[in-house]
Every structure is written in C-alpha cells, then in structure tokens.
C-alpha cells in the first residue's frame, strides 16, 4: 500500500517537475530563436519569448507547448510562407505579435494555422499583414480569444479571412477584433461553436460569412462598415442573439443575408443604417423576435420562397421602406411588431392596433417591377399613390401583413 | 408734335380704332370728345404706350414710339381713375416717382402746394377719397414740367375749387406753349379751356377743328350745342 502511495507521489512530482520547465528566449539569452526553443522543448514545457523580433517561416509546433510572449514579441514570417503552424494538441499561444505571412492564390497562407489539433488556445495575439489571420482546420475544442487582426492589403480584394474555420467543432471565438480582411470570420463545416463579443469591421467583403455550419451560437457581436455586410448560407439551427449589424451601405450591401437557412432564431439584434437590414432567400422556419430595425433603406426584404418564418415583437423605425418582396408570401406570420409607419387605431386600448398593417408599400412593389421608377423616390405623387393603395389595397401582396401591430415600440 | 398714322386697334371682336390719322401740336389745348366706347381712352393709352396698336404708327417729335420709352419723359399723364399702390403713403408716392425718373430738376410743385398735399403726406393711399386721389394724379402729371399733358376726365370727382385750380393750371400750361390733350364730357369746360375739338365717332375722326371753326360751321354760339348738332348729324349719316 505504502509503495503504491509513494509511487503515485513520485509520478505526480515528476509530472510537476516536467511541467515546470520554462525556456526563456531573447537576444541575450542562451536560446535566441523560437525555432531553437521548440527544438529543445519537451511536451508541457513553456517557452517565454521576451520582447524582440524573431524570425519564423512556417514554424511547425509539434509538441504540446505553451508559448507566451512578453511585451508582444514580433514573430516575423517575412512574407515567405506561413508564420506559425500548430500540429499538436493542447498548444497555447499567447501575447505574440504575428507579422508578414506570404500571400497568394495557391495556398491559404495564415498567420497562425491549426491543423488537426484539439484543445488549442490562441489568446491575446496581434496579427498584422497576414494573408489569412487564424486558420483552423479539422480541429476541436479550441479557444480563440482577445486577438486583433488587421488584414494585409487593407481594404483591397487581395486578402484572406480574419478567422477561418474548416471542418471544426466546439470552437469558442470571443472578444476578437477583425478588420481589413476579405471576410472577418469565415466558417465552413464548423459545428457547435460559440461566437461572442467579436467586432468585425471594414472588411472587404463580409463581416461574417458561413455555410454548412449548423448548431452555432452568435452573441453580442458587432458587424459594421463591411463591404457587403454579413452573409450566411446553407445552414440550420443557427442562433443569433444581441448582435449589431450596422452601417453596411452600398449598391449591394445588407446587414444580414440569409440564404437557405432554416430552423434558426434571431433575437434582440439591432439593424441600423444598412441599405437592406435583413434579406432572406429560401429561408424557412426562422423566428425573428425583439429585433430593432432602424434607419435602413429597406428593413426587410423577404423573397417569396421563404416559408413559415415568424416575425414577432420587432421594432421598425425610420426605415425608408419597411419591407419588400417579390410575390405572395406563404405561411409567414407577422405579429406584435411595432411599425412607425402604422397609422391605425386602438379602440379597445389593448395596445394592439385594430387594423392590420401592410409594411410593403405600393412604391416598393413598383420599384421591384420597374427599377427605373426609382427616379420618383420621395416624390409627392408616390406618397399619394402609397396612401391610395393603403386605403384600397390591390397590388400589394395580401399575405404580407401584420395582423396585430403594436401601437408603441416593444421594449426589448 | 404727336402724329398718328392709320392707327388701328381691336380688343377681341371689338374694333375700337379704325385707321386714325391725327396730329397734335404744341400750344394746342385739344379736347377729345365722343360717346362712351368711341375710342378716346384707347387713343390716349396708345399715345402713352399703355396699349399697343395693332396697325399704324405713332410719331412723337417725328420719331416712332414703338420700342421707345424715353419720349414719355415729356408726357405728364393724369388717368381718369388713378390707381396707386394701396399701402404706400402720399409722400412716398411722390418720393418714388421722383426716384424713378432720371432728371428731376426743374420740378413744378405748384399744384401740390395749392392742393396742400404736403399736409397729407403721411396718409396711406387706400384711405384717400376719390377727389384727393385725383389731386394726387393731377399734381403728379404736372410735377415734372412735361411738354405734353394728357388728362383723362381731369375735373371729374374734383370739388369746384380744386377744379378751378386745375383749369387755371391748364390755361397757364397752354400759355407756356405746351400741348394739352383733354378728354371731357363737360362742355362748359371744353369751352373754357380748349381751342381745338376732336370728335371721335366709332373709331374714326368725325370732326377735328378749332372751336371757332366749330361754331362757324354749326352756327351755334355755345360749344355744347354745336357739338350736340354734330353728334346728331353723324348719327344720322
């Protein structure tokens, strides 16, 4: 019995001793390069990089090490290849300033690539002038937090994505800031991920772009000033709470594009100052509730191929057009939304308007049919026509209406 | 001084002036008479350029008036009923008229003084009686000391005293060699002031001669009767 206890103790101590090894790297130290440190390191070792600049062209991390930067040491890829490639589980990378990956169309060069690994953490890093920022493929249970990536070729098309996930699951992405990339975040086949408190702005194409990424949750993220906004496709079971989509303004821009999305919840989000707040194509069984649509060109564009979607308790204020569509909607329901353009009355004082509201104006239908009529935007005549149509509906789709519009904005 | 040549004017279907050839010279006081609608006022307005003739020409001092406005510096006009901007005061009207003219020396303010208009300078035009308005019109006509005076029913609406003052002024103007053209219905006045009578009948000059000649032709002592005779004659032609 005693020997068992003792041997257990010894094993524990040896483990502890092994873990405690720290390799310090700096220009005056015995170990002067990150690559040299990795060569001598064993699993569970910590590599502490002091402030300075370290060359790192396609440095592969094959051991379960913790790499910590002190004062943001620069890891420079000199635009020759990728900068860091993680190939082992349980790696932690923290506090590094990753710079200058190669860019090109042959390969998705990244600042930090994680390949077929589990439990990897990338935290507190800065990335600058990297083609892709952080690229995870076939990895699980990872954490990407508090990183800030500024894309190469700021503002131009020749740039990759900020955080890129391919065939991953259970990844947590939080508190990151992505700017100047093609897409701020891009997920393909990423499941059961939690994405929260990230800021994606001024990306060339989308702030967030995903497809075939079921069962992910998005919370408290902000997507603003991106080239075309946020586009998500071919996915089910998406949940989006408390996100902000704003200032996506341009000929083909929108806050959020849903294409073939189903069984999803979109709640308490804010859509402000977008050319189109939300545009939906072939998206079914989505619940929109308690969202705020303010100052958009169009708040909603719902194509006729969207079925069984629900819009409840949303607020629509100061939008040029509240809604547009291209035909009759089937089985969609609008209830208890607040529309600032609603002019009905509430005789029984239950705070719900007594007559339904039709958010699609005649003029928005006209524009869909004949785009040149846009020259009459805000014309007095158009105003008169809209009102005439409201009192005697004829052209506007009958199914597109809120049967119980609220008299006052919903508190969200 | 003023000559018209084949002057024609229609208002719609109404043919008012039918080829008028007349001449007025300085030193004359011409009284234009005729029925209502005989074209008196139209002729005056043509001369003043307020109405543009359809055909024919008007010469002022040998120069055609069409396209010209300078000649009106030499004309003082008193309309039958003066219309003035209603919320201006009398004083402002006088000030404005002086302001709008280019040469304002050699002003003749005697009528203005005799009518004591300066005491009413603060009165707005819309508050004036017809008579006072006529006084303003008359004073304005003489104000710039013009060579030609065109007076449309000058004494109508004036009280006898004011009318006398105006008549004296007209006679004085004649004595100073000015041309005075008057339209009037009051024959006694014609007799008092005019030396020449022009009788317009249906847009044409029926009679245009001196008062003396008129009396001689008709054998009447009074101008009034003489004219009545002519009128009857023309009506029976």
């Amino acid at each position: 019995m005693k020997t068992v206890v003792l041997s257990c103790f010894l094993i524990l101590v040896s483990c502890f001793l092994a873990e405690a090894r720290t390799i310090v790297v700096c220009s005056d130290c015995k170990v002067k390069q990150l690559t040299a440190a990795l060569d001598i390191a064993a699993d569970y070792d910590t590599i502490l990089l002091k402030k300075g600049t370290y060359l790192s062209v396609n440095t592969e991390i094959k051991k379960q090490v913790v790499i910590i930067g002190e004062g943001y040491p620069v890891i420079d890829g000199q635009e020759k290849d990728e900068v860091l490639v993680v190939l082992s589980d349980n790696v932690v990378i923290s506090g590094l300033w990753i710079k200058n990956s190669k860019r090109g169309s042959m390969k998705d060069y990244a600042g930090i690539r994680v390949n077929e690994a589990k439990n990897v953490k990338i935290i507190n890093c800065k990335l600058e002038n990297t083609f892709f920022g952080i690229y995870l493929s076939k990895s699980q249970n990872c954490l990407i937090a508090n990183n800030h990536s500024k894309g190469a070729n700021y503002g131009k098309s020749d740039t990759g994505n900020g955080i890129h996930l391919w065939k991953c699951d259970s990844v947590k992405i939080e508190n990151n800031q992505m700017e100047g990339h093609r897409d701020g975040m891009y997920f393909e086949f990423a499941h059961f991920c939690l994405i929260e408190k990230n800021l994606c702005e001024r990306n060339y194409r989308y702030g967030l772009h995903f497809m075939f990424s079921d069962d992910d949750v998005y919370r408290n993220n902000t997507f603003q000033n991106n080239g075309t906004g946020v586009a998500v496709m071919y996915t089910k079971n998406v949940e989006m709470y408390d996100n902000t989509f704003q200032n996506n303004w341009g000929d083909a821009a929108y806050g959020l594009l849903l294409k073939d999305i189903s069984n999803s919840i979109i709640e308490r989000n804010t859509f402000t100052n977008n050319t189109v707040g939300v545009t939906m194509e072939g998206s079914n069984m989505i619940t929109f509730s308690k969202n705020n649509f303010t100052s958009n060109g169009y708040a909603l564009k719902v194509m006729a191929n969207c079925i069984r979607d629900t819009f409840m308790y949303n607020n629509f204020t100061a939008n040029t057009f509240d809604a547009a569509t291209n035909g009759e909607l089937r089985e969609n329901s609008f209830m208890y939304n607040y529309w600032d353009k609603y002019e009905g009355y509430d005789l029984n004082r239950d705070k719900i308007g007594d007559v339904p509201f039709r958010p699609v104006s005649l003029y928005s239908m006209i524009i869909e049919q004949m785009p040149y009529a846009v020259m009459l935007l805000r014309s007095f005549t158009v105003e008169i026509l809209n009102r005439a149509e409201k009192s005697i509906p004829g052209i506007v789709p009958e199914t597109f209406q809120d049967y119980a519009p609220m008299m006052k904005p919903n508190t969200l | 001084m003023i000559r018209t040549e084949q002057l024609e004017k229609s208002f719609g279907k109404l043919h008012v002036l039918k080829g008028l050839d007349v001449e007025f010279n300085s030193g004359q006081v011409v009284s234009i008479i005729g029925h209502n609608g005989s074209g008196k006022t139209t002729l005056i307005k043509c001369i003043l350029g307020m109405v543009v003739a359809d055909k024919g020409k008007i010469f002022f001092n040998g120069k055609s008036i069409s396209g010209d406005f300078r000649y009106r510096e030499q004309i003082g006009y008193m309309p039958q009923i003066g219309h003035y901007p209603e919320n201006m005061k009398i004083g402002q009207i006088f000030k404005m008229m002086k302001d709008l003219r280019k040469n304002v020396d050699n002003l003749d303010e005697s009528l203005m003084e005799e009518y004591k208009l300066s005491e009413l300078f603060e009165k707005p035009m819309h508050a004036l009686s017809g008579g006072t308005t006529q006084k303003v019109s008359a004073s304005l006509a003489f104000l710039f000391n013009p060579k030609v005076l065109i007076l449309d029913e000058p004494t109508a609406g004036l009280d006898p005293l004011a009318a006398e003052i105006l008549k004296a002024k007209i006679i004085e103007a004649k004595s100073r060699g000015k041309l005075v053209i008057i339209t009037s219905h009051i024959m006694s006045e014609v007799e008092e002031m005019a030396d020449t009578v022009m009788y317009l009948y249906e847009g044409k000059v029926n009679f245009y001669n001196s008062v003396a000649e008129l009396k001689k032709q008709t054998g009447e002592e009074k101008v009034g009767k003489a004219i009545a005779k002519i009128m009857k004659q023309s009506a029976h032609v």
Binding site: I366, V374 | Y71, P85
Partner: protein, 255 residues
Amino acid sequence: MFKIAKYVVYDILRSKVLIAYSLFLLLVSFSLFSMEENSSKSLISLMSVVMIIVPLVSIIFSTTYFYNAYQFIELLVAQPISRSSILLGEFIGVSLSLLTALFAGVGIPILIYSPDATGLVLMISGFALTLSFISLAFFSSVAMRDKAKGIGMSLMLWFYFSVIYDGLVLGILFSFNEYPLEKAVIALASFNPIDLGRIIILMKMDISALMGLTGAVYKQFFGSNFGIIYSLIIMLFWIILPLLFALHIFKKKNL
C-alpha cells in the same frame, strides 16, 4: 429696374404673408431637426416639405402679388420706363423677398444643424425652385388678364409639376419597361424642375445605394461634375424660359 425692385421688396415686406411663410418654414425646420438626432434623416423630411411647399407658395404668392401690383404697374407703364425694366424689376423684387424668406426659414436652421454639402444642395435646390416657380407665376399672371384665371393657371402648373407629371412618368416607365431607359429617364427628370431638384438632393444624401443598379446609373450621371453642371443649366432654363415668355407677352400687353 433695381429701383422698381426696391419698391417691390419694400411693399412685400409690409405684408404679413411673407413673414408667416418664413415663420412656418422655420417652425417646420426646427421641429424636424429637433425631432431626429440624425440630421440627414431630418434633411430628407425637410426636403419632402420643401419640394411641396416652396413651389406652391412661390407660385401662388407671386401670382397674387402680381395682380395686386397691377395698379403700380399701370402707374409705371405711363412713365418713361421700359416694360422689360418694369417686369424684371418686379421679378427681382419678388425673388429677393421670397429667397430671403426661404433663407430665414430653411437656410438658417440648415446652417445651424447640418452645415454640410447635403444641406447646401438642399438650399440651392430650394432657391432654384423658388426662382423657377416665380418665373412660372409671372408667365401665368401676364398671360391671363383675369386674376382668378391667373391664380387658377398657377395652381394648375403647380399641380402638374408636383403630381401629374410624376404620374405620367410612371405611365411612361410602365409602358416602356422592357427598353433601356437610362437616357430617357434623365431627360424625363429634366422636364420637371421639382424632380430635378429632388434627385440632385437625394444623390448628395447617398440614398442612391437604395436604388440598386439603376441608382448607380443616376449616381454616375447626376453625381458627376458634368451632371451637376447639367442640372444647374437645366434649372437655369426653368428660371429664364418662363420669364422670357412672360416678357414677350408683357411687352405687347394692353394695360
């Protein structure tokens, strides 16, 4: 000419209509600007008001004024003053008065709340519309001897440019929807000063993004320097042409 304008301004300033107009605009502008935090939204609402009210007030006020000033004009015609001076003097006087009212009612609030390019364009459009509708008012006043007919014609002109014309445009676009209409649409906008003014302002507001692909066509044209100069020249035409017609008639008019 300028002396006449001076007396016209003097006369108009004493009437309370113009002050009421100015105060009304001021009230609308201030309430719109204080209701919205976002000044560009207020500008859009203000634009809608300006596009309806300014032409209406300009044309009706000028027509009424012209008939009321008939006596003054009669008085002037017998004076050694050319008829063009009289009419242009009247035009300048009325214009100065209405522009001042517009500046006080809309210009000052814009300078306070939104002193940017969009505000400036809204002001310029407002000024241009004022001038062109005064010009149209003079045309109908001179063309019609009867006051009621003149005001009726002015109202018709306003109604035509504000409502009927755009309805016709919709009809035309509907009939020829299959054809490429870029140039036709620019031409259509040019034949209505209100449409032209509105489009220039909307372009500055970058609302063109709303307009999709066709919006890009407008933006390309009206947003370019050439487009701006083109618009200004067309606006100028809308001011000068009706006035020239008015002048032509007035020179031969019997008073």
